[in-house]
Point group: none
Chain length 190, copies 4
């Protein structure tokens, strides 16, 4: 990436960009804490910035949501790629990736729905790219024990099952999550 300062168009890009990052980070934080419906005021407070700044950077909710989704997709795409090319024990890498992905869903409640409902071309493109990464990962994993009927969509769905829920009926299901993960990982193996 070319540094912003070399772009003659960009006056004040330094602080503006810094703020953009701050707001984006705060939005992710707020979305993970309060859901994707967190208010602009919540985000601004979290970013320690005025509401107006959030609006200046992301004049409408879809634009903000888009930026966050792209950020998340970039992150998990990277991990999918890493897991695919991992030189070490492949199944272990696959399990690690799946847990990472489940963790993202647990952090961002409703992520699947937002990804599915996104209208923005940029998100659609990134989503398709992401599915390709998943496809490659599955192809790789098939050779190392993954059920053949599990493709990218199924994998996505399975990870999506872990969308955040606090549901231990008696403060006892700390084990619930671990066991469920174990059950699913085992179930995914041929």
């Amino acid at each position: 990436m070319v540094l912003a300062s070399s772009d003659p168009q960009s006056h004040l890009r330094v602080d503006a960009e810094r703020n953009r990052e701050r707001v984006l980070g705060a939005a992710k934080e707020a979305f993970s804490r309060l859901g994707f419906d967190a208010s602009y005021h919540d985000i601004a407070r979290s970013a320690k910035v005025g509401v107006g700044t959030v609006y200046r950077r992301f004049p409408e909710r879809p634009a903000l949501l888009e930026a966050v989704l792209l950020d998340i997709l970039r992150d998990i795409s990277f991990h999918a790629h890493s897991a695919t090319v991992d030189r070490r024990d492949s199944w272990q890498a696959f399990e690690a990736f799946f847990e990472k992905l489940a963790g993202v869903h647990q952090r961002y409640a409703g992520l699947s729905e937002r990804l599915a409902g996104a209208a923005s071309p940029a998100v659609k493109t990134a989503r398709d790219d992401w599915l390709e990464k998943l496809q490659a990962l599955c192809a790789h994993a098939w050779a190392h024990g993954l059920r053949k009927d599990i493709g990218p969509h199924e994998l996505h769905y399975l990870a999506g099952l872990f969308a955040r829920r606090e549901c231990d009926l008696a403060n006892q299901s700390r084990s619930g999550h671990a066991l469920a993960m174990r059950v699913i990982l085992d179930g995914m193996r041929q």
Copy 2:
């Protein structure tokens, strides 16, 4: 129902009871359609009744939520019991029950969280009763192939994974649900 019809109060009581049922049914309908945060207005509309009536029957949200949760728990407790005493192929009965339970979670998004967070003694009691039913079911199922490390809490957690989400990235995950169910059922078997 055949209460002294000569008592001028009884008419009101019957009427009131009917209204309570209407509102309760409408609340379940609205909760399943819009989530547990459905507004009293939504519920009232669904019940074809004024908002005031909903407030009269359930002056505060917790009371309404309690009634709905008790209703749901009664229903799934009954199915757990049925599956336990089923004379036929026990594993098949277990699978049928699990799918039923997952279906309830799919209908009522966020059910686990509400059950876990309930403060009402009545719900707590019903929840304990429900866990006992699940315990009996597990004990029975252990003898027919269920992993020994899956107890009532784990079973509850696993079914809860299916809390409703519309998340097919490309209208392709009709297969997602079926396969996830298969993966989990397989993973639960020893």
Copy 3:
């Protein structure tokens, strides 16, 4: 007008209607005091009513503006009619009417623009009706000294000149208004 209570459709019409009137009156008051851009909060405060009530009665600004304009048009139409059928000194009645009309413009700054810009069919109809009344008045007045080249539009324009302005350069133009009115009334006479 049929009383509201005879309309089977209208439950609670009594208080709702009462509030509608209150809000409408408050809107007129606020519009005259602060201009047609007075905020809903100003209007609500003026009506001693919650903002929500103003929104319930007039869910969007155009609807509120429409109601106010119709009210004003009804009022001045009535006066135009009265002046036309006045049995006594016709020119004096004409002058009285013109002063009344100028007063309305003085009270509601920007009235002409709002009338001209109205998109609502109801306002357009009322405006046409109003122009007809003015036409009749002019026809009548022509026979009593009004310049023949003054028709309804010209009359409207002339009265509109008095749109509210506080403009005495040295607290001395109390005479300004009176003299201007005299000059114009004289200028209108043949």
Copy 4:
């Protein structure tokens, strides 16, 4: 302008002065287009300058308003003087001046109010000077047909009636303005 160009400050001063003129011109343009409430952003856009520059030149609105009013007063004072000393048909010169003055009011909606409300000593002085010019003009015009009860304030008020309004109810009042002018000019004549 030919200030010592060797003074390193002078460049800045010339530059600053040029900017001041630019902003002032833009303010007049914006005020005439959007009214005296035009935002600093509007003015900046019109001047093709950042908002900050407008604030630097005129740190507070009153200062900017003052500069604009002084500019306008200078202009109309000059015309009043010209009309007074005009050698040709005096009444015609008077009419021309009145139309010019009405035009200024039409261009700057709300000018009268701003002039009347000005707190700045400079504006007050200029206003008094302006009234003297008007006084002289009236004195001159009285001898050529102007009603004796029309003095400077009345004249100012009458011209102020033409403060801009777009109010043709049916795209027909092109005639409105011309006729109103005729009516008033006729009415002003003895």
